[in-house]
Symmetry: C2
Subunit: 326 residues, 2 copies
């Protein structure tokens, strides 16, 4: 692939502001957290936005809720379909449940039981498939056509991007203008939405995406101006294993982001160690990407006001807890 065509309906800040009104009282307004120790370690004044405390355990609830809220009556009746083995699945399932819209999620047979259970627990129908026999995109398209249901993609959709941007809106509203905003980066939905928020609410703020080193498709796309792809990257940051930016997110990220940096899995584990041990927050590997960029010094911001988005906290902790007290 080279440069994807620019869609006509790329979202603007107005869409993000409207999503904030839609989500008001529906999504949690997650707090802003600070850590004296983290500030000493990095030399910056850091404001964490912990979306692991969001409903469904990640920011994905925001975009999912906003997208479902924009459906017409006929679309609502026919239901929503999504394909995801991760946080988008849980976000769609809960957002559908709260808005009285039936949801079905296409998930691979080998998806972790804990994620299947959480998604089913929010009332979604789970459609399992054999990843060796078909792709989820093909299956979702087939089922969507059969049922007439609306497919809501996990990142490349104007209402999804606008919804994710509300996390950035709240961060700027509650912490004030920032010099730098660091955002976890997989498919680019959160980064795109937050960049739109920054442009309107904190002009001049540098917006930097942080990606796993093994899944650096967006960093390479950003540097080259053409779309790069990484399939099945080997990283513990499962939420950032998306193979490429989408049509909407490619253009928004290239237009608005200041930089994209990468961190290794070992650096992610160190950042998780800080967040878990010092801030008492259960954060999943993907959720620690932005924190890791600052902790490693890959992004330096001495004396600056820095926002750090924590994207989510969904991981299976039970195997880890077997080690407690041993």
């Amino acid at each position: 692939m080279n440069t994807p065509a620019r869609p006509d309906d790329i979202p603007t800040y107005e869409a993000v502001a409207q999503a904030s009104r839609v989500l008001n009282g529906k999504a949690h307004r997650t707090p802003i957290l600070t850590s004296r120790t983290f500030d000493e370690l990095t030399g910056a004044s850091v404001f964490f936005k912990p979306e692991n405390l969001q409903r469904s355990g990640s920011f994905k609830f925001r975009g999912a809720y906003n997208a479902i809220a924009h459906l017409g009556d006929e679309e609502r009746r026919r239901g929503v379909l999504a394909y995801s083995s991760g946080n988008h699945a849980q976000g769609i399932a809960l957002a559908g449940q709260l808005q009285g819209v039936e949801t079905a999620i296409v998930m691979p047979n080998n998806a972790p039981a804990v994620k299947l259970a959480a998604t089913a627990g929010y009332g979604a129908e789970i459609i399992r498939y054999d990843p060796a026999a078909t792709t989820r995109e093909a299956l979702a398209t087939e089922i969507g056509a059969e049922r007439g249901s609306t497919i809501i993609p996990s990142y490349d959709h104007p209402h999804v991007i606008a919804g994710q941007g509300t996390a950035g809106v709240e961060l700027f509203e509650d912490a004030g203008p920032l010099d730098v905003l660091l955002v976890c980066l997989g498919g680019g939905g959160l980064l795109s939405g937050c960049a739109l928020a920054a442009g309107a609410l904190s002009p001049g703020c540098r917006v930097v995406g942080v990606e796993p080193a093994a899944a650096d498709d967006a960093a390479r796309s950003f540097r080259s101006g053409t779309l790069h792809t990484v399939h099945n990257p080997d990283t513990i940051a499962d939420g950032a294993r998306t193979p490429f930016l989408g049509r909407y997110t490619f253009h928004t990220v290239l237009d608005l982001a200041s930089d994209i940096v990468t961190v290794t899995d070992d650096e992610l584990i160190d950042a998780m160690g800080f967040l878990w041990e010092r801030m008492k927050l259960v954060v999943e590997p993907t959720g620690a990407l932005a924190t890791a960029a600052l902790l490693t010094g890959k992004v330096k911001a001495p004396g600056q006001r820095v926002g750090v988005l924590i994207s989510g906290g969904n991981l299976d902790v039970k195997p880890l807890l077997r080690g407690v007290g041993r």
Copy 2:
């Protein structure tokens, strides 16, 4: 031992109210958290008070700060001594640092490196000893006499009890009156302080202590009316391995608590699983005691308003994180 003599200066609610004024702006006012899922599982309306988010990682900061704030000028100059390998050590070290009072902590040679590092990080002098050769009480008494420093015990002290009670004050102020309050129980400082708060702010509220089954000295003391002792209990709840209630806490607990229940280590691990996985909170085993009592049904409160104190979140997570993504 039988019944310890009742001290003349047992703290009252007035001491707790005064401690709230002392701690205002010094301790974090930790939030009140709720979980729809936990309410569904237990049938109650539950208000969590997460003191793992308190400064130094546990409620112990409250009592430590209040006790140091009550020292006279001469005592402040001579410094403070404490013996603890756990959360009291970190609470005293940070409270001393913030109030410009030197602190020394007597800790066993075999204390976990992570706890030594955290305590030293707050500026305390660490005095290590060989637990095979002497007891920490004997060593602390000797060093205290030599230096003229004031020993602040980890629970059996009026100002410490009053300080811990401020967590209960905040819970009642922010959540409103409760039918039941569940409190983690080791030496009884937190339970005593919270029982005083309940008596004044939520009369009729049942106050229940929760102890590890292997360290049920307080449960047996409560039932028999005489002091029972359990030395070196085998439980992962290291903060509740205290061998007995103190003079102040024995009488306050027997006077004011409604009941004491126990939970097993396996039940603690389950409760930690809920708090980590669903609420994204890193809680240490002792911190999950009260949650476990409700989750197991050992305390039943259908349709009632229940407060659950989470005492702390200090544990070494780095070994656990080695299992992430594997």
